[in-house]
């Protein structure tokens, strides 16, 4: 086959791939999308909080038919030691707005819906098809893909690599590196089913209001890690993620950590009596700004998790994926409409759009956060949570000890564990990384 079959090929039907394919198809490009799963979403795992604003810019009336679980009115942050949690809750009736800002979703269902939208917009979607290799011409320009289906190279002007964090195509072609163990977290997750009314009652929700809990502390046994518990309509997504480098160093079993989180006295009553219907695992890019690879080249762009576009501090990934997919698609459509070739030079437009957006601005803001958490993980995930719990207990327990002695004990415990200098330097470094 020598003629070009499509204007663009999108590899992957996750958040970024669907956003890209939909946007290009809507602009009249001939788009082919390849997905290795039986259906879009069958390989994908997420918490999952979906940020409405990003989807709204792509499909303004998505609320009419998208499979949404609960809109979020409450967020809890917990710092945990083995028997307690110290928490901050934010709940506001303002989140009960006409067009809510955040929803929980179930990825397998959501991606299926998004993929249907791509087809309705005129895109060609081929599931059960794994792209196995990028095809390049003698100058090295990407001209299409090989797949595991019989047949020749499928050709197109440009390939959008939306293959997720563990994408093989781009790494095999040398366009970017395989993620390093310290730049990815392994998350394991279970789906706990409970009747809708039970969930509403346990979390203090009415109608389709929802609540999410994010938790850090001794549950990750000194590794950089986080636990989460998100309410869906009639299920609870419960999971735990830790850096792969941390797991390899400590040899902890991920499902043991998850079971520990589930059995914690603060979590156990929330899921009591539930029926578990799935156990899933997936990587999350955590390297941040410094881990972002080259994003475009002759005949290709990379979007979403494959490009490490993930904000680990705010637990945002799907919206960065949708935003980067949309911007890549807009850049490609613009180049196409001007009749220009998909060269590296012309595709740099995508990077320019990304740089101007919240995606790069947010990631740049937290560029020092990942390395800070690596070097000090034991303080941040073991020592401080225990100290905070002790401080809260000292503050609340009434047993005849004078308050001044309680306070002294709290201060002494902090200094003993971390030294004055250690505390000060942790605080300064945290402040700088956050700035």
């Amino acid at each position: 086959m020598t003629h070009k079959n499509f204007d663009a090929i999108v590899v992957g039907a996750g958040m970024s791939g669907n956003a890209a394919a939909y946007t290009m198809a809507r602009r009249g490009l001939r788009v082919l999308q390849l997905e290795r799963g039986e259906y879009a979403g069958s390989k994908n795992v997420q918490g999952a909080i979906m940020y409405a604003n990003m989807l709204e810019t792509i499909i303004p009336d998505f609320r009419n038919d998208a499979p949404l679980e609960r809109h979020l009115v409450e967020q809890r942050f917990w710092i945990m030691d083995d028997t307690s949690h110290t928490g901050m809750h934010y709940r506001s009736d303002d989140f009960n707005e006409l067009s809510p800002n955040r929803y929980t979703i179930i990825r397998a269902q959501f991606d299926k819906w998004f993929s249907r939208k791509v087809r309705e917009a005129g895109g060609t979607v081929l599931c059960e098809t794994t792209a196995t290799e990028l095809a390049r011409d003698s100058s090295g320009k990407v001209i299409g893909v090989h797949t595991d289906r019989a047949g020749d190279v499928i050709q197109a002007d440009v390939v959008v690599l939306a293959e997720g964090v563990n994408g093989l195509l781009g790494t095999r072609a040398g366009l970017r590196e395989t993620p390093k163990p310290e730049n990815v977290a392994l998350a394991v997750k279970e789906m706990h089913f409970l009747p809708e009314e039970v969930i509403a009652e346990r979390f203090g929700m009415t109608g389709d209001e929802g609540c999410v809990i994010e938790a850090a502390g001794t549950i990750s046994r000194g590794m950089p890690g986080l636990g989460f518990l998100y309410t869906n309509r009639e299920s609870i997504s419960l999971g735990m993620g830790c850096l792969v480098s941390g797991l390899a160093a400590t040899m902890e079993k991920p499902y043991d950590l998850l079971d520990g989180f589930k059995r914690h006295p603060s979590v156990r009553p929330l899921i009591a009596g539930s029926e578990v219907k799935e156990y899933a695992a997936h990587l999350i890019p955590e390297g941040g700004f410094k881990a972002i690879p080259q994003l475009f080249g002759d005949g290709w762009v990379v979007v979403g998790d494959a490009a490490q576009l993930n904000n680990a501090v705010h637990r945002e990934g799907s919206n960065l994926a949708m935003a980067s997919g949309r911007m890549a698609a807009e850049a490609i459509s613009l180049i196409n409409s001007r009749g220009k070739p998909m060269t590296k030079h012309n595709l740099s437009l995508y990077k320019a759009m990304l740089d101007k957006s919240f995606v790069m601005k947010d990631l740049r803001k937290y560029k020092d956060m990942p390395s800070l958490l690596h070097t000090n993980s034991r303080s941040f995930f073991m020592t401080y949570p225990q100290l905070i719990s002790q401080a809260a207990k000292n503050f609340l327990r009434v047993d005849g000890t004078p308050k001044i002695e309680m306070e002294k004990a709290t201060t002494a415990a902090f200094i003993k564990a971390r030294s004055r200098w250690g505390l000060l330097s942790d605080a300064v470094r945290l402040a700088f990384a956050w700035r």
Partner: protein, 98 residues
């Protein structure tokens, strides 16, 4: 105490849907004398418990319960100890919820 009440990983995986591609394992361990530290770590770190140490001290894989997360790839592909591929289109794990 803790291990006594821990749930079995087999029971967890039993809830999942898979379409196994018989005779075509998508991940292979290359022959080795003794495992590298990262390869050995896979016997604990793989979330589906696919890796095991055999009697003669080598690491083996049975990828049937694999959830295609890529953790073993990130830890061991570069060193050449394992060969990692996706299963053929349509095969492997099929998440109902994800």
């Amino acid at each position: 105490m803790k291990t006594a009440i821990a749930e079995r990983i087999e029971d967890k995986l039993y809830q999942n849907r898979y379409l196994v591609d018989p005779g075509r394992p998508h991940i292979k361990v290359r022959p080795h004398q003794s495992p590298s530290p990262n390869l050995l770590a896979l016997t604990r770190v793989c979330p589906a418990n696919c890796y095991e140490l055999n009697e003669s001290g080598q690491v083996e894989i049975t990828p049937d319960g694999c959830m295609e997360c890529g953790t073993c790839r990130v830890l061991c592909e570069a060193s050449g100890y394992i060969e990692w591929n996706y299963p053929r289109g349509g095969f492997g794990i099929l998440f109902k919820f994800g």
